[in-house]
């Protein structure tokens, strides 16, 4: 018989060092993102209420929690939580991605059919990379860098937004990113439920899969309404 030279039994089992622990990390940070994008999307929809409402909302975010917290205090707490979550989420994703490639073995199947898995589930990794790139660009555009490619003012959130979405390729980047976000959430919500151990029956599985679809459509659709609003002239300066 051909034995495997490395056939050994593990002595010390630390559950916190397992692949499942990494998945738990992804699921928890993923849920943080979901909470955030839902709130962010709701905020963006203020654009339909006009220039002043939108800017007041942006300002309101900065004064939230005052005087208990300093100006912009809560915003900074959120930023730190999000950045740490993103770092952990991407770290776990990359680690598991590389592990999966090794685990699959050196030789590919000549013929391989995928029978069950959804389009979204196969897009998670590259879709995630797209999201990461988008997040960097998005922060440069609206938060850190405040780039106004039309050359207009950058100190007025509403006007910066309308200016940006009046540029066709910025709108396109944004809509593609929202599609990626939608697919990531479509599989991600259900996957998080499964990873956290909430889907222990066929019924619960269906509920979480449906929830994934609903969250994906609401979030990606909600975010997309704003650039589409600018495109159609419903939102204007």
């Amino acid at each position: 018989m051909v034995g495997v030279a490395t056939a050994t039994l593990v002595k010390n089992s630390r559950s916190t060092r397992s692949t499942i622990a990494l998945k738990l990390l992804m699921a928890v940070t993923g849920l943080v993102f979901i909470g955030y994008v839902l709130a962010h999307m709701y905020g963006n929809l203020k654009a339909f209420a006009g220039h002043d409402s939108f800017n007041e909302y942006a300002e309101h975010l900065r004064t939230l929690g005052e005087p208990l917290l300093p100006y912009s205090g809560l915003l900074w707490v959120i930023r730190v939580v999000l950045l740490v979550s993103l770092a952990l989420h991407v770290y776990a994703a990359v680690t598991l991605w590389r592990r999966a490639q090794t685990a699959r073995g050196g030789t590919k199947y000549v013929v391989k059919k995928n029978k069950h898995s959804s389009f979204s589930s196969h897009l998670m990794r590259w879709g995630g990379v797209t999201l990461l790139l988008f997040i960097v660009w998005h922060l440069l555009n609206f938060t850190v860098g405040k780039v106004n490619v039309t050359g207009g003012a950058t100190n007025d959130p509403f006007n910066l937004m309308v200016d940006s979405f009046s540029v066709w390729w910025l709108t396109l980047i944004y809509l593609v990113a929202m599609f990626m976000l939608g697919t990531h959430l479509h599989h991600g919500v259900w996957s998080a439920g499964q990873t956290l151990g909430f889907t222990n029956s066929a019924r619960q599985r269906l509920v979480w899969k449906r929830a994934g679809l609903v969250v994906a459509v609401v979030v990606a659709g909600g975010f997309s309404l704003v650039p589409l609003g600018v495109l159609t002239g419903v939102i204007s300066k």
């Binding site: 039994l9 916190t16 692949t19 499942i20 598991l96 999966a100 685990a103 069950h116 898995s117």
Partner: protein, 247 residues
């Protein structure tokens, strides 16, 4: 039936392998897939060629040995094992590609045969209950609620074939692992070692080089026993609980 077979040949674990093409004729559609391979092997022996090595044992769908990737599907197009797959599932004149399970944790021994002893080592790390031997206790000494008994029984049908790993893009054995964890976790006898079992079996799974699960579900659609995805949720839940208990 007349068939063209494209089969992975590999002389040994370290040897370079490749697809070879063979023709077979007069195959009855009532034959099993393995019987069709038997016919081909007789043909090869008559031609003084080396027969194709493939794994099989019970030929009645219960041992899990007959691990073949057929046209890109584990065990072929039906939800069953290769030994229970009939040639009527194929068309006359069809070209069929046959490959071994591919996963780093299942190294090829020869041709289509892989070494699945990684599964045995996972079982050795907790896929059992520790009880003193002696007189067999009364069958109904330990009552089990029907719901739990049913779930345990359903997932205990896992035959350790490895189709789930073969079909998984991540090379994960989570469905197999989940089946074992759920099987014992549903029963009163399995409670004493519940935390250490999941911690040890998951650690061995990772140590063997299987990948992490991304819940895409290729495993369950490849499983000849229809083990459902919820066993992976159960596995995750049990591991989460074990972490909370300090394991």
């Amino acid at each position: 039936m007349k068939l063209t077979l494209k089969i992975w040949r590999q002389a040994g674990p370290q040897a370079e392998g490749g697809i070879r093409t063979y023709d077979v004729d007069e195959i009855s559609e009532d034959m099993s897939f393995l019987e069709m391979l038997d016919v081909l092997n007789e043909q090869l022996i008559n031609d003084d060629e080396e027969p194709i090595v493939f794994d099989h044992d019970c030929r009645e769908g219960i041992c899990g040995s007959c691990d073949l990737m057929i046209n890109g599907e584990a065990h072929g197009p039906e939800v069953t094992t290769t030994c229970q797959l009939h040639m009527r599932s194929f068309r006359d004149g069809e070209t069929i590609t046959v490959e071994p399970w591919r996963a780093a944790a299942f190294p090829i021994i020869k041709d289509l045969m892989v070494d699945r002893s990684a599964f045995d080592r996972i079982i050795a790390r907790g896929g059992f209950v520790s009880v003193n031997t002696g007189a067999a206790p009364d069958a109904h000494a330990t009552p089990v609620p029907k719901e739990n008994a049913d779930r345990a029984f359903d997932v205990a049908t896992c035959i350790g074939c490895g189709a789930c790993v073969a079909a998984c893009p991540n090379g994960s054995a989570s469905l197999f692992l989940g089946a074992k964890i759920t099987h014992l976790g549903e029963l009163p006898q399995g409670q004493a070692e519940r935390d250490t079992r999941v911690a040890s079996m998951v650690a061995q799974h990772d140590h063997e080089g299987f990948g992490g699960c991304t819940n895409i579900g290729e495993c369950t659609s490849a499983c000849p026993k229809g083990i459902p995805l919820d066993v992976i949720s159960q596995l995750n839940k049990d591991l989460r609980t074990a972490i909370r208990h300090g394991h």
